[in-house]
């Protein structure tokens, strides 16, 4: 090795130290950025002993990263469901709350029972009518709330879809930079940071899996295998449905022409907020809606009036009726939204309280007490009996198909609470999984300020040593020049 080569070696060492310091300072600058992955300058030595920074690599851990993405999706889905159910639960309340449909149905039945023992007491009749009014209003507002929750989920899905489309466009730019190799390796690493942060965003909305291509590009699939990005972004479409009233199914999110939510989907999403919102909008909230409709239908049916003479008159609605009254509803769907007090019994609407005791809200032919006896209680008795008799309910509600109205309403509250509890537990669990996955990833690929500072000190020493070497070689040349002179 000649003196000139020694000189070049010292020079290359200084250049390498400068480049490494640059990487270290970049790492320190990125310490607080969540998507910054630690960079390492790779130094190689050639046959002549000269060092060069051959590349700058970015710390990655694909397994941890994939885990982080999947836990993010799972946690988003769980938290979407949990937050929707919380909204329902907070407003509908539990059985102990005087506002829940179950509690109101209970009050209505017990007031009716006390009225049976003193059918001449019009104050008690008024109390029963008021209870019925409150119950109907509570069912109406519970039904509206369910629609609000579904509508909100629908809107959130639309927002998520438009964010996904925007993210995919940004993803294409980052992906192209990575494939083209960029002008410098720094540009590639920055594009990889961007790419990772976009993937993390996407994973909040829908479960994704990624595939690396040989040219460095990334293909994104949903967790069900539908192409989301391959060279170009695929279109994700969704349109909101207004209003989402009972029995109306919301539109499906369509990725690349494949519906990924809803019952018609062959490749449904498994996680992500869209999957959670879709489950809330299409399954949980409609189930609860169908329970509310069941309660409404049970009440209308129990209070209905029949022909007292045993003649062929059809059964008509009584104390509680619906928008299509006085005919009996053929289906329970939407009854919770339209249940209301029968105007014929409500004095504020020009009705008469005595029709509650005697019957006849549907017309004089249904009046079983044509003599107007004050102690007539047969009609009231039949209503109490009907309320205490098991009725059949739709199987779509997820509850027992045969129960008394009171038990059905209580079961509904229990169902909601159980769902909420389990969603809340799941959400807590998934969030802690996500936190630990994020932490593990950060420990592996993030910046540790202590390590960087130590590296900085050792770089400083190398730089000093190289400078010393240059001084030594310089003095050797000087001695040579001295001889020549």
């Amino acid at each position: 090795m000649s003196l000139t080569t020694a000189f070049q070696a010292a020079q290359s060492s200084m250049a390498v130290v400068s480049a490494q310091s640059n990487v270290v300072s970049g790492n320190i600058a990125g310490v607080n950025s969540p998507n910054y992955a630690r960079r390492t300058a790779n130094v190689t030595t050639d046959s002549a002993g000269l060092a060069t920074v051959s590349s700058v690599t970015r710390a990655t851990d694909q397994t941890l990263y994939d885990t982080m993405l999947s836990t993010t999706s799972a946690s988003s889905a769980a938290s979407a469901i949990s937050s929707g159910l919380n909204t329902l639960q907070n407003t509908v309340g539990d059985t102990a709350s005087a506002q829940s449909p179950a509690a109101l149905v209970g009050t209505l039945i017990s007031d009716l029972q006390s009225y049976v023992s003193s059918p001449d007491d019009m104050n008690q009749a008024q109390g029963v009518v008021t209870d019925a009014q409150t119950t109907a209003t509570a069912l109406n507002s519970a039904s509206i709330l369910v629609q609000t929750v579904r509508q909100q989920a629908d809107t959130d899905m639309a927002t998520a879809v438009s964010n996904i489309n925007a993210d995919l466009v940004k993803f294409q730019q980052a992906n192209n930079t990575i494939i083209s190799g960029g002008a410098t390796s720094g540009a590639i690493n920055d594009a990889m940071d961007t790419r990772d942060s976009i993937l993390q965003n996407l994973s909040q909305y829908m479960g994704i899996s990624t595939l690396q291509q040989s040219n460095g590009g990334t293909v994104i699939y949903t967790d069900s295998g539908v192409t989301l990005f391959e060279t170009t972004p695929r279109t994700v479409t969704f349109s909101t449905t207004t209003p989402l009233s009972a029995g109306v199914t919301g539109a499906a999110v369509v990725v690349d022409g494949v519906p990924v939510t809803g019952s018609g989907s062959t490749m449904p999403l498994k996680s992500g907020s869209i999957a959670g919102l879709a489950q809330l909008r299409d399954t949980l909230a409609p189930t609860y809606q169908s329970q509310l409709d069941g309660i409404a239908s049970g009440l209308i049916s129990a209070f209905s009036e029949t022909d007292p003479s045993g003649g062929g008159l059809p059964r008509q609605t009584g104390l509680l009726t619906w928008s299509g009254g006085p005919n009996m509803p053929s289906t329970s769907t939407g009854l919770a939204a339209s249940i209301k007090i029968n105007p014929a019994v409500d004095p504020t609407q020009g009705g008469s309280l005595t029709t509650l005791r005697d019957g006849g809200m549907a017309g004089a032919a249904y009046n079983g007490n044509s003599t107007g006896a004050a102690s007539y209680s047969a009609h009231l008795q039949s209503m109490v009996t009907a309320l205490n008799t098991a009725q059949s309910f739709s199987s779509s509600s997820g509850l027992s198909t045969s129960a008394t109205v009171q038990n059905y309403a209580t079961d509904s509250v229990g169902w909601l609470e159980a769902q909420r509890q389990s969603a809340s537990n799941n959400s807590t669990f998934q969030t802690s999984m996500q936190t630990s996955a994020t932490q593990a990833l950060s420990n592996t690929t993030g910046v540790n300020i202590d390590t960087e500072m130590t590296k900085m000190l050792s770089l400083e020493n190398s730089y000093q040593a190289s400078a010393k070497l240059i001084t030594a070689i310089d003095s050797m040349f000087n001695s040579l020049m001295g001889i020549t002179a």
Partner: protein, 423 residues
């Protein structure tokens, strides 16, 4: 040997040392010249006669030996078109006179017309890869063209091959024949067609327009699937069935019931609308008890794109990298060598011309046997070591002084002889 012979010896010695000093000077002045090869000075005797036992007068003459095979240290730069040979071999360059010569000086930059020209004005030569692998003549510098990386027109390449592999879920339910995508017509209702899984890939037509192909895989019977490829542009509004045109391909896939591997076919042909026929390799498809899992989705071809930068690989392939990330190999930079590189004729501009003494030229690929590799963003520094040159200089100075002393002594002795006559 006569006294005058002493003077002749001393003069030849002084001449030889001054010529050595010339070489030292040239080396020192080129100590920073990229690709410069040190010139070493070799002395040889010049004898006045062959008189056994007698005194034979003589002098010295020198030969300049160019150490062309010496490897200079490689220093990294930031330009991709700075290239160096790591190992043996030379770049082939063309001077303004049109003659091809060899060089190790690789500091090439793009000139106004897009040619790669080094600091000495020589143009880098190579083979074009745009139409195949290029034609190389193993023992001649002919058949080469200047490497031009100018901003060419937009380029687009039609897709001809693709690879698609995925695991198809063995537990999927069988779709009835009437509902299969292959049974669908342009007027079928959207709900009349069922499929098991769907993927899509982007291919390019002749003009480089992206054509998104919808690939449906549908289970038709145990271990039997159907693959249907449609042009997504024909899909119903919002995507999916019914397509307004027939499937580009509809093929039955048979899987081995024991291994889950695809037994037939290994590839399908898809005629891309306005494009080439794409051979889609599906041989890695499997049918195992797992969810639908895409494994590979790759197509060749690229959309029209502007030139972005070049990259040079270690085997000398110069690729144009387009702004959309597509990398197209466009030239091959060959290396050349001769039987005796040290005997080539050095010319101005750090180039060497092969001659009869050096032997014939052998042209080959970087990295192949007998050739070094090409390092991009690297320059080969001069092989001159300043310290050795300075010590050589001191040695030459002392030798020159000694020769002068001999000359002076000889002159003194002649003076004595002259004074004899006067006395």
């Amino acid at each position: 040997m006569s006294l005058l012979g002493v003077l002749d010896s001393a003069v030849s010695g002084m001449t030889a040392q001054s010529q050595k000093l010339t070489n030292v000077g040239t080396n020192i002045s080129n100590s920073d010249t990229v690709g410069y090869k040190e010139a070493s000075t070799q002395f040889e005797t010049l004898l006045g006669g062959a008189d056994p036992g007698g005194v034979v007068g003589g002098g010295a003459t020198i030969k300049t030996q160019n150490m062309i095979t010496g490897q200079g240290t490689l220093q990294s730069t930031s330009s991709a078109t700075d290239i160096a040979v790591n190992g043996s071999g030379f770049f082939i360059v063309q001077g303004s006179n049109g003659a091809n010569v060899l060089t190790r000086s690789g500091s090439f930059v793009q000139n106004a017309t897009g040619d790669l020209v080094n600091t000495a004005g020589y143009t880098l030569m190579g083979y074009s890869l745009t139409s195949g692998t290029g034609t190389s003549v193993a023992n001649s510098l002919s058949g080469l063209i200047p490497i031009n990386i100018g901003q060419g027109p937009l380029t687009a390449t039609a897709t001809t091959t693709a690879t698609l592999s995925a695991n198809l879920p063995s537990a999927a339910s069988i779709v009835a024949t009437a509902s299969l995508p292959s049974s669908s017509t342009t007027t079928s209702a959207a709900s009349a067609t069922s499929y098991t899984d769907k993927s899509s890939i982007v291919a390019y037509d002749n003009l480089g327009a992206p054509v998104t192909l919808d690939v449906y895989t549908t289970k038709t019977a145990a271990n039997t699937w159907e693959i249907d490829v449609y042009n997504q542009a024909d899909a119903a509004s919002g995507g999916g069935f019914p397509y307004s045109a027939a499937a580009l391909n509809s093929t039955t896939l048979n899987f081995n019931s024991t291994t889950g591997a695809l037994t037939s076919p290994s590839s399908i042909s898809v005629a891309i609308p306005n494009g080439q026929t794409m051979t889609m390799n599906i041989s890695s498809m499997t049918q195992l008890a797992a969810a639908y899992t895409p494994i590979t989705a790759v197509t060749n071809g690229n959309a029209p794109s502007t030139f972005d930068h070049v990259s040079i690989s270690s085997d000398g392939t110069l690729s144009s990298v387009y702004s959309n990330g597509t990398t197209v190999p466009s030239y091959k930079i060959p290396l050349a060598t001769v039987s005796s590189p040290d005997l080539m004729t050095p010319e101005s501009g750090n180039v060497f011309a092969p001659n009869l003494a050096s032997g014939t030229v052998l042209v080959g690929t970087a990295g192949s046997a007998g050739f070094g590799s090409i390092d991009s963003a690297t320059l080969e520094s001069s092989t001159v070591d300043l310290a050795s040159e300075l010590t050589n200089m001191i040695v030459a100075q002392h030798a020159y002084q000694s020769n002068a002393k001999v000359f002076q002594t000889g002159t003194d002795m002649l003076d004595i002889l002259m004074t004899l006559k006067q006395q």
